[in-house]
């Protein structure tokens, strides 16, 4: 059937896992391993991640998904009366069905531009609380949350993150990175934030597996061990502790073997660059300035059916009455055949 041949770029979790992961699952299937992340695979994965981020003492736990990682870590890091500052477009602000609020914490939304907050706006949000005479009646900001790449595919510069990190620490806030798509930052020439920068910038962060080649899983990292006492129990209490922790350990052991995590996003970025060039060539305006695996185009609504016949894209948002922003998302699994097909079709636009 023709339909099945149409290339699809709807998200970065359409396929299974990187082949190395499946092979390793097969090879290790009959090994007996301890439960709950205490197995040798998880230990090995932790050792590799510590090496990759150059932080030999980091405390590392594995979680099943991004919303879960955010909810468990943010709840564990905040006092009950604290909230988390995040871009109004941040994943925790908008697309987690209230998972943060469910743990009792307010998301303190800050204006964004192309998915990024400015240090000035974050500073203003902190100041608004600090300077208010009634601040004890208000939610105290206890953390700043950033995504990198952002939900719009954009990147902070290292300098921006250093500035924001310093701001947080001056004011006693935690600085936290949601790295759901961090592998796509690493693969992107425009990115200047290395794995080894993370431990000194952030009090806690997670490195995404689900969107970066794993079947599921995120690696939660606390550069300073003991940052959250009894994190194991907290995971369990949140229903976020897998009995067969090996499943997460094996995957991160593969993702961080021989630097795979730093390479796995490369085809996604190359594909995205080709798609962006072709879109531009075909006369479409690109949005937000994303240099990573997500590409956004502004499209007249009347062009949508024809575009939809060429490839499966993702609806992003209505730009105005007559135009829509759509997303083409590539991933570690994107094939050059699919990109060729789309590029060729756009060349005829």
């Amino acid at each position: 059937m023709n339909e099945t041949k149409k290339p699809s770029f709807t998200c970065d979790y359409e396929e299974g896992a990187h082949p190395a992961i499946l092979t390793r699952l097969q090879e290790t299937n009959w090994c007996k391993a301890a439960g709950y992340g205490l197995d040798e695979f998880s230990e090995s994965a932790r050792a590799r991640i510590r090496m990759a981020i150059d932080c030999p003492d980091a405390e590392i736990h594995f979680l099943a998904g991004g919303t879960q990682a955010n909810a468990v870590m943010i709840d564990a890091l905040l006092a009950p009366y604290q909230g988390v500052i995040a871009a109004e477009s941040g994943h925790v602000s908008l697309h987690e069905a209230g998972a943060i609020e469910r743990t009792g914490h307010k998301v303190l939304a800050v204006r964004q531009e192309n998915g990024k907050m400015s240090t000035a706006d974050v500073k203003a949000a902190i100041g608004a609380w600090e300077d208010d005479l009634n601040r004890e009646h208000m939610v105290m900001p206890g953390m700043v949350y950033v995504t990198h790449p952002t939900e719009f595919g954009t990147l902070y510069t290292l300098a921006e993150l250093e500035e924001m990190s310093a701001l947080c620490h001056e004011h006693g806030l935690r600085f936290y990175l949601d790295g759901a798509r961090f592998a796509y930052a690493l693969a992107c020439p425009e990115n200047d934030v290395a794995l080894t920068d993370l431990p000194r910038l952030f009090d806690a962060f997670y490195l995404g597996g689900t969107k970066c080649g794993a079947l599921l899983g995120e690696a939660a990292v606390f550069p300073k061990p003991g940052t959250v006492p009894h994190f194991f129990s907290i995971q369990k209490q949140h229903g976020a502790l897998l009995a067969k922790g090996r499943l997460l350990g094996i995957q991160f052991d593969e993702l961080f073997r021989d630097g795979l995590y730093e390479r796995i996003g490369v085809p996604a970025i190359e594909a995205a660059n080709r798609i962006r060039a072709a879109l531009r060539q075909a006369g479409f305006s690109l949005c937000y300035g994303s240099p990573t695996n997500q590409s956004f185009a502004l499209v007249a609504d009347s062009d949508l059916p024809r575009l939809g016949s060429l490839a499966v894209y993702d609806f992003w948002e209505k730009a105005d009455a007559d135009r829509t922003i759509i997303r083409f998302c590539t991933s570690w699994a994107t094939t050059s055949e699919d990109v060729d097909a789309l590029v060729a079709a756009l060349a005829q636009w």
Copy 2:
């Protein structure tokens, strides 16, 4: 090394997954699938489960683990002021690090015998609330929670569950089954509770994957669709929704293909029966009367080192100053070589 050859019976989640699951993961790896459980694999798995439980309208969702399934489903089914009646030895009472209380609900513990509650005790617990003049100052029982097999490997009879189900429904409570090890009940000749009995007995239940041959996953079933509106959002809000829902769908599609779920526990039960016979023969008393994949023996502390040199067992609890109850747990993955080795060694006791 000798050590690695010592057979291990510490739990039923020591290995990876049933080979059919790994094969299917491999075969489907490059298929593109929708996220969040809306994929065709999950749909197929749902269809197979509906067929197996003979309940064409059942609403089915997949969750990652047992504690998560309990917390999400129980929270979703109870009003905020309600609690859940459970055996004092129930998984929700003891071994979920307070996951149920974290959702705001009290576990109303009831006396157990060999892991089972009697209908009379449950009735008394309900009556204690109903008859109390101050009941509006107390936690209203909103649900009865049972495990089958129980944490002690024992089984309710169908008649007992029918009686408890009727009791619940007369008094307006939900009846809920934690079926983490249900496949081991199905494989056990002493069991008379069929998959097809579950929809009429229970308002909600989950069929365990993690302990029954999957890498991870539990199938949450609401026989009556719409029992919990917006369960999808609730899952998301609990951090319990996998982006790659296919991972759970594929596994349950395999577990319920050609009746595998009803057969997968058979080797575990056969192995357990052989181990129990050998233990008895060697002069050990068995505890609790478990006919399923968990076997418990009462052992003089002075015998523990020698037993430990024969096989890896699980410490269960101190019986008294000089004696300990230990557990031998078999699973779908237990090999006859391992059982042979233990049985042979016990024959020499």
Copy 3:
């Protein structure tokens, strides 16, 4: 001392209670009464309120304070996955230290003008959820929260509330009034929302006591009885049920005796009108257009010390680098001597 003679207009809860309340407390002190709001005083108060709002079946409970009333009622009315739409300046948005989020619900902030939301903006917020393809990953709006008078002293028109009520009910949302200062609306000629309008407009509301002449207390009203089953237990579970419910019953029985609640704010409004006229006369700009007991003036920072020597006012917010908005708040207890003093002083400005 001179200082103590300086009139104070910092808030509407500086004094104790209306004398009728103290007298009644004295008279009834030795009467024995049932606990937890089941006493005859509370029953009488409920009867008077039902009469005043012309809603013979209304279910009425008494709570201790405004934040408590909002948190308990909003939590009781929303499903766990729902949030509440409120003005970004709403009490629940800003000044309850995250009490709503603590119950697990997101406050969905909407743009305000002079403390009021427009129906169009509320409609857009509801539509943003309804029209989003990913809405099941987002917080569903379950309620619209308004204050009347608002935090800025302004009033909705009856027509505006009717429109917003219709909007809510068309879309399946609850409509909720925080009436902390409702007595000041009732005393204000510009107000066209009567007590008898509330039951048809709102699914739930509370009539403020703390700011309107009581020592403490708010009357929570559900026009349709049974709107929230087991509200009594919910109150208790929130720590929001007073043992000596008589204390609240007696106060509301007095506040609603012979229409006191509709008259008690009159001196506050008269005083505020005199203060506003005097401020205007003295050349200050008034802000927000409040016609109720709160008056806001835009003041050059250099004028603050002299103003502060005349009367105690409340800092509201910085308007810009050189100017501040300050508040003069009158109440049921404001004396004409205090107003005379301020007006006389302003006349010399």
Copy 4:
């Protein structure tokens, strides 16, 4: 009407407040005071309480009721993964509608005798967690909760509390006193626990007002200031901060003026002693051995109607098929006329 003359002993919160409180409310009614407990009355009350407990640095906050005090303080003192050890008959275990669980914490119930836990049982409960290999899957005990007097009117000895306090602190747990009826302990000759003992025994406690002569209110005491950072915000977030904090301040200022709190329970104890003697004389068995203001009698069901014609008592619990335990509760407000009447009637039994 005769009925109204029948003496009533149903609970210790049937009347209003001690006359000194009402007088002071009257006297201070027109004084302007700061809100939220920052007023001079509250400050004065704090100073008097610090003096009475001989703890000049104690941090003191006022709350509205007992369930609220327990929920706010216990939640504030525990880590999210911790639970509170309490007698199975403790107020937090049974009669707070799940208020503790609502804050996410499990109540770890321990066997009681006459309302008291033994240090041995508490030690065993702590040990059960500490010694369990799977303790990270279980709820960690973080606090021990006692009531004094207990729900059964009984008293711990100072030696018992010292022992339990030492046990708690050896094992890193907090020790917490619910002193809802502490004034009745102070008035009781059998009691050897003084106000001045509390700061060295307990990490936190509250001294009851509601049941001891106030209209409402409990004084929460942290002997070590800063035990809970931002307690003010926590109170607010729980909806447990009164705007007119003066109402609580004034009452505790009176209760602790000239040692009133230590005397206020004396008539209650004298009355209870007379009632107990009369009940014994009339041939009834007393239960639990309460020496305080609550008296319990074992009564044949057939005697209940006649007893009920003499006085209003409180149903406590069914003892067996034919007998009931009933409670006679006296208070600071009990009159000698009422006691005379009951004693005279019992003399004729």
